[in-house]
Symmetry: C2
Subunit: 348 residues, 2 copies
Amino acid sequence: MANTSGYHVAVVGATGAVGQQMIKTLVNRKFPYNKLTLLSSSRSAGKKITVNGEEITVQEAVPESFEGVDIALFSAGGSVSKKFAPEAVKRGAIVIDNTSAFRMDPEVPLVVPEVNEEDIQKHNGIIANPNCSTIQMVVALEPVRKNFGLKRVLVSTYQAVSGSGAAAIQELNDETKALLEGQTYEPHVLPVKGDKKHYQIAFNAIPQIDVFTDNGFTFEEMKMINETKKIMHMPELKVSATCVRIPVATGHSESVYFETEKDGINAGQIREVLASAPGVVLEDRPEEQIYPMAVNAVGKYDTFVGRIRKDPDEDNGFHMWVVSDNLLKGAASNSIQIAESLIRMGLI
Amino acid sequence: MANTSGYHVAVVGATGAVGQQMIKTLVNRKFPYNKLTLLSSSRSAGKKITVNGEEITVQEAVPESFEGVDIALFSAGGSVSKKFAPEAVKRGAIVIDNTSAFRMDPEVPLVVPEVNEEDIQKHNGIIANPNCSTIQMVVALEPVRKNFGLKRVLVSTYQAVSGSGAAAIQELNDETKALLEGQTYEPHVLPVKGDKKHYQIAFNAIPQIDVFTDNGFTFEEMKMINETKKIMHMPELKVSATCVRIPVATGHSESVYFETEKDGINAGQIREVLASAPGVVLEDRPEEQIYPMAVNAVGKYDTFVGRIRKDPDEDNGFHMWVVSDNLLKGAASNSIQIAESLIRMGLI
């Protein structure tokens, strides 16, 4: 049903790092909402958030919160999504879920609009937003796949702490300040809040994001592997990942190696297809020291790509450096792009 | 000539980040020196450094400084090495050079004692110490090569600022402090002191170490590629690198992908040969969140290896995470190990 007067949008996890960016992005992209319901756990309920001059009180999420909601944006952890997304769908909302709860469910489309917008059509009430580190990589890989085919991807990530939420940003700041002042700091959030041990992130690199799986890869690494194949519709694609947390607040960087299907491609051709690709900004002028950097990507919706060069030994192999704001394209703005696609495609 | 009463050792670049570690390492490893001459540019000459309770005045390096010197450890930049290393050799010293000045010279052995100690025998007065990021990688790769053969290496680095010297450590500290206090800071050292533009390293990742070459790779990346082949005597080895500076003071981390020559190897076998390899400490117990980290490697001579796992798609492909103190094994302690090898092999 087309709704010309705007949509009732709910944000679940409104006080979190991603939730905050979702609210900002709805405003900044002039998303056509006529009502905004902000939901959270009981702990954060009652907080007031000013949105576009209007003060909105955050309410505790209960099944009834979703009555009359058209689009529910979830980013409050997998267990919250598992509990409330079906309740929202039952009440007629379309759920865009930023957690990993439904991403690998064959009934749930996993969508990056620049890559597989058409998958939205197959939704059954829930559309999943991929993992932050996956999104920016597939935005950069899709133009390559489309033009030259893709055989293989190896990625090493340089991920910002905000991927672990607002508490992790606070920990990076507090810990860095303490160490610079010669004091000690007892980490309690990173690398993974719920895991047994916590380590210093300030002036360090931690090769663990999310908990470990039995095969020695972390869940974050397995997400990159599995989600990439699903989004790109390439179950046969060879993908591997090493995910690392570094002392950056916002902005994920990735060192990506890939092999094209097509032979005889050069770096200039890769650059050319990326320069005109949707959602991609090419920043690749080494002679002027122009390349993507996390601090420059903050606050932007695009994915920045540079350092593109042919592998010295592998004819079809290339390297690139991919950077994006993990809270925006990696989460909030991709979710809202999905909502925009729903409208443009006449699906809501 | 064996010298049982000890050697006259000169440190060129004694006031620099690496020079300081060279002096400390000579003391800590009880290197048999009977005289220590500390040399620098005219700018730092006159400074006094206390070594093992004895105060030594740093002198300006001139050709005559090397009269009577047995071993000259150079770490004051390539131009200083080019100028003074031949002068030192002319006066009978053996030069161990930590700059890139002579590394790719076919007449100069490029040595990591755990990998190619025997190459020291071919020296003509100068022995080159490899680049920091190369050393720790080949220490971890050599046991693999020796047992299973090696076809291919792809590395993405997470490098500490101290690789750019003491001024870069200062910049990281000053800049981080300024940003945490809401002030601005004008970077003037990183990514490369002598390059045109300087960028923020605090809370950022910069995909540039050293200046760019014409092929789009940086010199640092080309060093990793070329030095690895030379040290391992494998001109045919496929190697590529992406080198990235992150806001860490000391301790380089590396995400290394490699392919073995031998088929049918599993991660357990890789772990096994690394556990007993010289200079390697295996830290690989994901179930207990045990893996190498930069902050734990600081002050140690070893190379720490963990996160070893088979690639999901490539039968002979493996991933590992390699960490070491870039000022010690990456520079100072490798240089002094070379000097120790000279003695043990009866070459001085």
